[in-house]
Subunit: 321 residues, 2 copies
């Protein structure tokens, strides 16, 4: 099943009372896409909210746009629960009750990994879309909603973060075509949005980054590099985990590194962010541990101490070279 | 005087024996633009070379494309000397004799600052072009030369480096339109080019970056940040100055920093790279010291010890807030 953007637009026009669900550990694409479609639906006079149960990362705060809530009782009736940038219940943990209120269930996503635990009424998956934001942009156009400056900022944030600023291999001519359109919108300023996303790093976060990069473990003659953020390091630097954004690309910038891995010790588990520079398939590794993502960028979680995760994971990373 | 791309294309078609001059301390735009037009001219059967007298930065080595030389005697006759991404003799120091061999002199550039020490036969200046690479792309189209994969790689490198990966305020709809076209060329892979430019940082360079970022001087309550690379630091880290690429954006990523400055102590002088995050005009400061650039990104040089440069420059940076 893969519905068209046009058919989804037609359906949305007849609905009211919409809860939008970005994935846990929300990123720029999950939140930016959610805010863009929420603003578009509201401009059509509909009641819509983004349902979250975790703090919005500081560098993405401008994407809330008055749309986020942790209180689904703001809606008397939920005609649609819409999952964005993900497709399984394990990606909206803690929001199951709100999700189940939707009479219809929909999904718009660009990830390869597919969960089968939800019976969606409609699904739009474009694995060639660089970001869910690309699909949302086309959906907003199909809805006939003018792209406001606020919507443009959300779409830009979604796309630029998910493409590594238009460098990653998921970037296509369509990606540039869409962002070219955003630039034509009165008042659009990529630099201002970019500065909000990337240029508000605290001195503490800079210190943490330095510590992680100064203590990488290398495997396979330096082709694999593994960094670690422990709860202890967070406490020492006075940082929260969402300030770790931007460390993975630094690991990938090192000469000779093909696979980079950042292990994040949260209070619940250990999350692994995996990246490949050019040829290795890290999606396969992530999937083998119940995670997912794309060939060159994926992630998975572990319920064991961080040292054991590194011992378990590093031979798999070497084997993927 | 501002000639059209079309008229320059018409002129170029009748010329042979062309020397191309990127600016000193060549960057991705200077070298990428030079290589793109050199390859295009050669594809028309013309003799053309890029005239340089300094090593190509390691991360830009793939842009040489067999076009660079320090020996202008490879051409018996020089019908055109073409200056790219700059417009004054002070930007091609040490190459004056080769420059003077050109019967015609041309200039293609996108910088605001204008030198008056050369009588050009044609000039194309587009200060709204994000990169000289944009103008060169249009010139190559006007020449009727098919954009080969090699040319596409050069144009992409020129544009992505000069726009800070499509984040800087110089980025326009046209920028994205051009790069969208590049993505349609068979075999084009932005990630592969990006990895060559950005992801070959040596561990030594990473160490140097950590040292610079750990020893920034802040002024004006943290709104101004100044970093320094001395010859001593280079020696300690085992680095060359061209490995300092990428440190300035790191300085700009710090919360609250509006103006960032990186002072580089070379064997000849001290170079200052100036950046503003959103509103300050650093081009004016650079120009007041005989340098130039753009409002948010500029540079200048000093013939005095690095400590004195910082004492002289930092009050000017504070005053520009």
């Amino acid at each position: 099943m893969n519905d068209t953007v046009k058919s989804i637009a037609t359906l949305l026009k007849d609905l009211d009372g919409i809860l939008i669900f970005p994935h846990i550990n929300m990123d720029g694409d999950a939140l930016g896409s959610s805010a863009a479609i929420c603003l578009a639906l509201r401009s059509l006079g509909k009641k819509a909210y983004i349902m979250i149960n975790e703090p919005v990362p500081k560098n993405l705060d401008f994407l809330e746009c008055g749309c986020t809530t942790d209180d689904d009782s703001l809606l008397d009736e939920v005609q649609l629960s819409l999952m964005l940038d993900c497709n399984g219940m394990n990606r909206i943990i803690g929001r199951e009750d709100a999700w189940n209120r939707g009479k219809l269930k929909g999904c718009i996503d660009h990830h390869m990994s597919k969960s089968t635990d939800i019976r969606f009424d409609f699904v739009r998956t474009e694995i060639k879309a660089a970001a869910t934001g690309e699909i949302i942009y086309n959906l907003i156009r199909a809805l006939g909603v003018p792209v406001s400056l606020d919507i443009a900022n959300c779409i830009f944030a979604a796309i630029t973060t998910d493409t590594g600023n238009f460098q990653h291999s998921n970037t296509t001519a369509r990606t540039h075509d869409i962002v070219g359109h955003l630039h034509k919108i009165e008042g659009f300023n990529s630099k201002a949005i970019s500065a909000l996303i990337y240029d508000r790093k605290s001195k503490e976060a800079l210190h943490m980054e330095t510590e992680v990069l100064g203590n990488l473990n290398y495997y396979a003659d330096g082709k694999v590099a593994v960094g670690r953020i422990t709860q202890k390091l967070l406490a020492e630097c006075g940082c929260t985990m969402d300030e770790a954004d931007g460390i993975v690309p630094r690991i990938m910038s090192i000469d000779g590194v093909e696979i980079g891995c950042l292990l994040k010790e949260t209070e619940m588990n250990v999350r692994a962010s995996l990246r490949a520079k050019t040829y290795a398939n890290v999606e396969r590794i992530a999937a083998s541990f119940g995670g997912g993502g794309h060939i060159l960028a994926a992630g998975c979680s572990f319920d064991m101490p961080i040292g054991e995760v590194e011992s378990l994971l590093s031979p798999k990373l070497e084997a993927a070279l």
